[in-house]
Subunit: 103 residues, 2 copies
DNA sequence: TTCATGTACTTTCGAAAAGTAAGTAACTTT
DNA sequence: AAAGTTACTTACTTTTCGAAAGTACATGAA
């Protein structure tokens, strides 16, 4: 007997997008690689703690890749993997709906 | 100064889908009108409390409509409005991604 | 009449997640 | 030497969630 009778695979995605800030984080990363401070600038209401936490979760799930460049001030870059970039249609669909229905 | 520089309308959708169970609830309601007990059967891990809470939120946002039929044992039915049904492409996109990447 | 069953919730309460604020370490600029 | 930048951590408060039990109303059986 499975947890939900409708669509078990959906569970994973639901758990992913059903967390605060995750969708927005992926949305901004679709722009291209970003540094920690850039994410902060793009999502000012998201706390440092949650930015770190969500990025770690997405990294663990193979959606985001973290790279460290040992430059003058160390540079840490976050970018979407193929798996992450493939979420673009999802984000687009959400944006399309929002355009039609919000406000 | 806006909350996020990327897409303000996305905020609403993010707040909606970025809550636990909301996506799954919409997914099951895409089948057609369902009663409270049917939702429980479809999403057994979701508590009664959260089913009620999420349905009320979606009703308030104009995504779900609640109808009461005064039958023998009272029948309460929940169905998606046009606004709710228009979320189908979003759910489909998520399912498509899940098919490709989960497991 | 009392008991059991069914539907659709509501209430309570402890635990987990999120929000807020301040702190840290390494390095650079002034 | 003091102040600023970047990328986090840590500590603490508030909010949300989860599990379980309880409520209201009706039907039907014993």
């Amino acid at each position: 007997m499975q947890k939900t009778s409708i669509c078990p695979k959906y569970e994973f995605a639901a758990e992913l997008l059903g967390k605060k800030w995750t969708g927005l984080l992926i949305l901004v990363l679709l722009q291209g690689p970003l540094r920690f401070k850039d994410i902060k600038r793009e999502i000012p209401d998201m706390s440092d703690r949650l930015i770190t936490e969500r990025l770690r979760e997405l990294e663990e799930k193979g959606i985001v890749e973290r790279s460290v460049f040992p430059e003058k001030p160390v540079r840490v870059q976050y970018q979407l993997t193929k798996k992450g970039k493939d979420l673009e249609p999802v984000i687009n669909a959400i944006q399309h709906w929002a355009e039609a229905w919000v406000q």
